[in-house]
Symmetry: C4
Subunit: 275 residues, 4 copies
Amino acid sequence: MAQTNIPSWKSKLHEIIYEADTPAGKAFDIGLLLVIVLSIVLVMLESIPGMSDKYYWQFYTAEWIITIIFSIEYMLRIIVINRPTRYIFSFYGIVDLLSTLPTYLAILGGGHNLLFAVRALRLLRIFRILKITRYIGESNRLLLALRNSRAKILVFLYAVVILCVIMGTVMYLVEGPENGYTSIPTGIYWCIVTLTTVGFGDIHPVTPLGQFIASVIMITGYGIIAVPTGIVTSEFSRASANEIPVNTQVCPYCNETKHLDKAEYCHNCGNPLNE
Amino acid sequence: MAQTNIPSWKSKLHEIIYEADTPAGKAFDIGLLLVIVLSIVLVMLESIPGMSDKYYWQFYTAEWIITIIFSIEYMLRIIVINRPTRYIFSFYGIVDLLSTLPTYLAILGGGHNLLFAVRALRLLRIFRILKITRYIGESNRLLLALRNSRAKILVFLYAVVILCVIMGTVMYLVEGPENGYTSIPTGIYWCIVTLTTVGFGDIHPVTPLGQFIASVIMITGYGIIAVPTGIVTSEFSRASANEIPVNTQVCPYCNETKHLDKAEYCHNCGNPLNE
Amino acid sequence: MAQTNIPSWKSKLHEIIYEADTPAGKAFDIGLLLVIVLSIVLVMLESIPGMSDKYYWQFYTAEWIITIIFSIEYMLRIIVINRPTRYIFSFYGIVDLLSTLPTYLAILGGGHNLLFAVRALRLLRIFRILKITRYIGESNRLLLALRNSRAKILVFLYAVVILCVIMGTVMYLVEGPENGYTSIPTGIYWCIVTLTTVGFGDIHPVTPLGQFIASVIMITGYGIIAVPTGIVTSEFSRASANEIPVNTQVCPYCNETKHLDKAEYCHNCGNPLNE
Amino acid sequence: MAQTNIPSWKSKLHEIIYEADTPAGKAFDIGLLLVIVLSIVLVMLESIPGMSDKYYWQFYTAEWIITIIFSIEYMLRIIVINRPTRYIFSFYGIVDLLSTLPTYLAILGGGHNLLFAVRALRLLRIFRILKITRYIGESNRLLLALRNSRAKILVFLYAVVILCVIMGTVMYLVEGPENGYTSIPTGIYWCIVTLTTVGFGDIHPVTPLGQFIASVIMITGYGIIAVPTGIVTSEFSRASANEIPVNTQVCPYCNETKHLDKAEYCHNCGNPLNE
């Protein structure tokens, strides 16, 4: 593919829209994020009962302005990229398209509720906001530690789910439909609510035996919350420990390593570290 | 015992049914697990009100197919093993038998509710699914760390239960039956619900003094959740720490493994490790 | 004080009743614990509505048997000790006396409810059961780690209480008595319920602003639960770390330390460790 | 500024009021804290329904005594400081003023409710009580560890909020206003209540799909509570670890302290540590 044929305005726009290294690219990113946040806040406000009737025209106008901004952004993204199809059928490409469509469809007519639901898809653009974390260096280490402990946490969650299936069935048999445990899935739902210490209280044991089993489940849940914590913490600690010997100075005389940060002389042979 | 007398087809079937090292053995395991999961899902669906009436014949047919598969599996397990009585009276043997019986008993007649309860015992076969964790290497380390901290966690849970007994009685005396604390066991149940931060809300303090005591219990529960977490985490950290230093050197004289990193002589026979 | 004047039967009984080193002392302890547990279970059962009427005579008889056992124990404790007054006015002495009185007072007449409350004091004897932990070695290390982190945890709880006082007042002003926040102490109680992630639901925010503030409180509570956990865990880890170099063997040839537990030869110079 | 012109009584009072090193300064601090606590308790009691009518005169008198004490304190603080404007417009200066005003305004007339709200501002004086922690050495280390892990915790909370926005919208679409999820903000509020394992139960899923999604949210919340805990714990552990290894050797040549345990030469001047 002849890279040199790309016009300079196109490669410049590409830099602004898809990258964030230049000041213009950063400004574009932050501006777009503000519009996304605004569009999300509008969807939220419109969902509050009474609001959409009271401020109909304000919502209508704001809706169209945001849709036009998103449409321009979408077209620009297609124009400046080398292989448009690759962007169009990517996850972000589809989300970007879906976030502009609902308003246009509303002109052609269509059920209000359905359109509202589709418009809520705009929320997925929120993932773009996650890019902010790029500016915060810490998130990488967080993700790394989580990825390392992924296998252990999955085994743990698998054991929790099996425990909930068994105890949920037991509670269904003990309490029965007359006390709110209408089916085994309901019992499992209740068991997850209890084991995770959420405890809505929409369903709760009534019989003494049920309360006793519930007590056992609660104490179990209280005890095993320690497991994921232990996994993640030991992973973080290991990551920190590997981090601690920051100082990579090596004594040029005796090859001793792991000096203190401020060390100027080798603690092993007494010769100067830097000359 | 004369191992050589066992016919080759029997030892081959034994390998497939009881072991999971060969491809055929793995396939048998996974196939069986799918049938178990299916049978559990069916029991769940049937428990939903209305479902068992609506899809009576579908449930009936699926029930019989699964029962026949389980029966064949049960008989095969008895045939291919050397000492059948040992399997029959083992935990899994009894569970396997109980998971086939209910459908047969239904022909002879019998209370629907009782049979349903017995059929729910099929859930215990779910423990076989736990064997999946065999394929995930992490679960061993998890279990080891939990087993090491078992004694400490038991002491902790013992202290929690005693605390709940005392505070539950206090709350019964303070709030009394008119506020939902109908008996001391109910008070203890409430105290466990509160201390573990579950908080159903089916019973809750009404008097100012009761609310004050509840506040103290809640803050205590919030504080001491740190204890099991601390126990498990330090165990995990220690496991991780012990993992790192032992290296894979093997003594060329006595084949002893797991030497310290800096070891130059074998700690078992005293000969040099590297020559 | 002339120690030699004590009759041998008295010192022998003292050993049995107050100590737990001899087999007889252990048997006395365990027997007493069983009676205490039984008396607690009886108090619990009697508190269940309907029970005390149905099994009046059984409760009455059991009550008297336990009271007589406790009375004999109490008198023996006074007789065999050198300075009875010291025992009588100690915490356990008063609890032991209070656990025998209610039944005797019942003969003289007296309000049933009051006597029941006094009898519940017998629960304090449960602390004697805590002595069981003496037989489990782990509890000492647990207590030590907790005692070391006591100061940090108190500072943390102090900050939590101040936060709850402020946020509880804010919620009282925002939501007001019409939404269940009838007074500032009620607001503080609600804030503790929320921050500790218990969440009874007896009181909950109704206004949008109240729900927003509640969200902030909940996320704060979710985040700062990490603090006591972090304190206790680092304390446990430190205790474990100090524990790890269990092996204190020193090589008699090169003075190398920190050998593996099973090491028979020094890993540094290859000479035998024990001769 | 001519420091020498300040009269000695002024500098002495300054020492008592603003500092806490001398016995008089400490006594002043503690006395003031007691009055603040008393004023807070009074505001709380007055908020309880019925109380302010029943004990009108007692509250009225106490109110005036406390107001006069606070007024004297406020004026003293202005007199003894060198640059009064700096104190008056500082955070504490404004809070101190606001804590005296309401009672004076009450004479001029004014809405009772508004004045009560302003008087609640007196609660902000509670921050002065936080100064107590100065006497407890542990709080500094606590704050340091929290400050070090601030960035990581913010990234985590940011991810939690985004997750709640998305899942709250999904629940609004799945359950709808007829099941209590009246708007998207309400859905987000519910999601925060659930993810943080608080679980009031004022809103809870009713449809099977909603309950399934809720189960996923709860298990997620149960799992990711490990993240802040892991962050803070590894920070505490690192703080503890950095504390342990540095020993108390002092270089006899340059008086440098905090050498590594195994150091034989000073890392600062290169001279031998032990001769």
